[in-house]
């Protein structure tokens, strides 16, 4: 059993409706953000990714029950996120920390 409380179909249906509406909103937000004039791509990318993270949080938190999950799962995911950040961050830093005047391509 993964839920310690009794499962109620109606309350789940309501929760799902809210999540779906939220996803509709976030998706529209992202699309609009990508069309904003007068902003650099750096700003737009940050904005879009932030909204995507909100979207991901909704799916992971509510649909995957991550918010009510046990500590062990959180620990596992925390390590995973750390290593993923290390992979992405260190690789990109490594390819930009070049001697002055050189580039990696």
């Amino acid at each position: 059993m993964s839920e310690s409380h009794t499962v109620d179909f109606k309350s789940y249906q309501r929760r799902c409706l809210y999540v779906f509406i939220a996803v509709l909103c976030t998706t529209s937000l992202m699309i609009c953000a990508s069309y904003l004039p007068h902003y650099s791509w750096a700003v737009k990318v940050t904005l879009i990714l932030a909204v995507a993270c909100v979207n991901a949080f909704l799916v992971a938190g509510f649909l995957m029950h991550l918010l009510s999950e046990k500590k062990m799962i959180y620990t596992l995911l925390a390590f995973t996120v750390f290593f993923f950040a290390g992979l992405m961050g260190l690789t990109i830093y490594a390819m930009h920390d070049m001697p002055a005047g050189t580039s990696f391509h």
């Binding site: 059993m1 993964s2 839920e3 499962v7 109620d8 179909f9 789940y12 249906q13 799902c16 999540v19 779906f20 996803v23 509709l24 998706t27 992202m30 699309i31 953000a33 990508s34 069309y35 791509w41 737009k44 990318v45 879009i48 990714l49 909204v51 995507a52 979207n55 991901a56 799916v59 992971a60 649909l63 995957m64 046990k70 062990m72 799962i73 596992l76 995911l77 390590f79 995973t80 996120v81 290593f83 993923f84 992979l87 992405m88 690789t91 990109i92 390819m95 990696f104 391509h105």
Partner: protein
């Protein structure tokens, strides 16, 4: 001695075995897609300025797919809730919807691939470049017909978003004028290589997930009669995988379609 905690959770961890297993597997999938996203970031940041494509995707189809997948995530959750509340008819309905939505996603994806693979960049002998959807390419004729436009500079091919009012028209190009002709497959540039690889791997996961859910919805439903709790756990575990597949798309869509 039988394997314990297949259905009942282990007291000190509070979880049953398969759930530990699926979260471990999802952690490895985070690293898999994470590496591909890292590759995307690296190759994009390292690209020559002005050569990274924007607006090359069909935004309508992409948005539909996003909503299709989000809806399927919800039907997946409701299918599990139905099992938990022992309403098997509802389970059949909701996971039936999930499977239909998955099929829709894959069909739309195939259409997107087809659109890319029939879209050509033709370099002409006079230095111009023609870009558009290939309509006719009959080997017996000495011309090709495409629905597209001419550009003078290669740089104009990349940022379709910045260029307003692009009106494609029917162009007929004699073969004698063609220097080189390549379609928008993964070989065309690194953006498309990343697009096809990322979405292709994702689509394989959609397919794999559909097969597992299809099995549970079809022949696997025998287990419901003898051990409904065990069956419910399988539905939950496969549902977690499906939600992860949706999570990946949540990042794929903005990265490939909106940036």
């Amino acid at each position: 001695m039988e394997i314990p905690y297949v259905i009942q959770p282990r007291p000190d961890t509070g979880i049953y075995n398969a759930k530990v297993g699926i979260w471990l597997f999802l952690a490895s999938e985070v690293m898999l897609f994470g590496a591909l996203f890292s590759a995307y970031v690296l190759l994009r940041v390292g690209a020559e300025p002005g050569t990274w494509p924007h607006g090359w995707q069909n935004l309508t189809l992409g948005t539909i797919n996003t909503l299709v997948l989000a809806l399927s995530a919800i039907t997946t959750l409701l299918a599990w809730v139905a099992c938990k509340t022992r309403q098997f008819a509802k389970f059949k309905f909701f996971h039936g919807c999930t499977l239909l939505l998955a099929l829709t996603f894959l069909c739309i994806k195939s259409e997107e691939y087809r659109e890319h693979l029939t879209h050509y960049e033709i370099q002409l002998t006079d230095g111009r470049i023609a870009e558009g959807d290939l309509r006719e390419n009959n080997p017996r004729e000495d011309y090709v017909v495409m629905n597209g436009r001419y550009v003078a500079d290669e740089k104009d091919l990349y940022d379709l978003r910045a260029q307003k009012n692009l009106q494609p028209e029917e162009i007929r190009i004699p073969r004698a004028q063609i220097k080189e002709m390549e379609n928008y497959g993964p070989w065309h540039n690194t953006y498309l290589a990343l697009y096809f690889t990322l979405t292709g791997l994702h689509a394989l996961h959609v397919l794999g997930g559909s097969i597992v859910i299809g099995y549970l919805w079809g022949p696997g439903r025998r287990l419901w009669k003898t051990d409904p709790e065990h069956f419910t756990n399988r539905v939950e575990v496969s549902g977690l995988f499906w939600h992860f597949v949706d999570l990946v798309w949540i990042f794929l869509f903005p990265v490939l379609y909106l940036m």
